[in-house]
Assembly symmetry: C2
């Protein structure tokens, strides 16, 4: 971790998480209002849910139906569009590998890519599990499709993503979004209020 | 439902739910600030979790540990004491039956009883699944122990509680606390912010 990031807000998310998408719309501005940067860290909830015995929220009887309503309502409250892509849920493996490929070259570019990709999925309803969609987004940001394609299958990036998921599990991340503020864990889009307060007061 | 309650905030909770306890500290004042009353409705999450295949939060790997931390942190934020009673989880059957016994006599007295009982459990750490504790609280509020004891075993009150849980399931209540504002469902202590906004704006 480079100097100046040690007090950054850490933002773990799964690219296939609607609440992750919603948090992604707010976290940078929120952190910036306290003079903090955000470290974006895409992970995969699949391997984590195996450990916790959880299922995706939208698949749980009663809770799933409510969650659909709550996501749409939260999107309206914060004034962003929302659409559930088809298919859903989808795999975020490719999207996440490309993020880690980019982040080692240029962290800001990686975050810009993450934001665009989230919008493609949850505003446009596109299937970002598809390599062609990921490539197109990277192309729009100035990367070559051939580079992106080779990154998608790069064994080092596969390993890198696996490693990041392992770190998240070690840190007891079990959902998306998940934040750390000076080591303090916060789970869920609805905890942004607490993240804000924690940054303001330095804890309580 | 009596006149004047038709626009009341409905508050479903389980007496053994820590987040229910936290919401109980805030919901009356919140509703009152919008000129609304609150209808308190204790339920049992056990039969509901059977339908959703859920487990109590505190029993889930990783999530349980975080939840302990989050409950204590939320209690500190809103400035109320918190202690996890032993044993935990505990049965809220007796506590809930007495609530419904009281509510038909005097709704305000029933809410006062609910608040005291929640405090006995989550401030004093007492075992409110024990009939003697429930009786003692009712006694303090002016009821006779013999009346309370007979209410605890009254078949009509058993049926009444079962009926309230069935209604909750029909209304797709799947957790505690759970609120309805003009029919709009909100789940979780953290949705009090949304309940407040919804009351203010009449929806969005």
């Amino acid at each position: 971790m480079s100097q100046g990031q040690s007090n950054a807000v850490e933002f773990y998310f799964d690219f296939s998480s609607p609440y992750g998408y919603l948090a992604a719309q707010e976290i940078d501005d929120l952190a910036e209002s306290h003079g903090r940067k955000v470290i974006w860290r895409p992970i995969l909830l699949g391997p984590i849910f195996k450990q916790t015995g959880s299922k995706p929220l939208l698949d749980i009887p009663l809770k799933g139906e409510y969650t659909h309503r709550d996501i749409a309502r939260t999107a309206r409250r914060i004034g962003v569009p929302f659409r559930l892509p088809k298919p859903f849920p989808f795999s975020a493996v490719g999207a996440s590998r490309i993020f880690y490929w980019l982040v080692d070259q240029d962290e800001e570019a990686a975050c810009a890519y993450a934001k665009v990709l989230f919008r493609e999925a949850f505003e446009e309803g596109r299937d970002i599990s598809h390599p062609a969609v990921v490539s197109e987004v990277a192309l729009r940001l100035g990367y070559m499709p051939t580079e992106v394609e080779s990154a998608l299958n790069n064994p080092e990036l596969k390993e890198r993503l696996r490693h990041e998921v392992d770190i998240a599990i070690t840190r007891k991340v079990f959902g998306s979004p998940f934040f750390f503020v000076n080591g303090e864990p916060f789970w869920g889009n609805d905890r942004l209020v607490d993240v804000d307060l924690w940054l303001q007061r330095g804890g309580w």
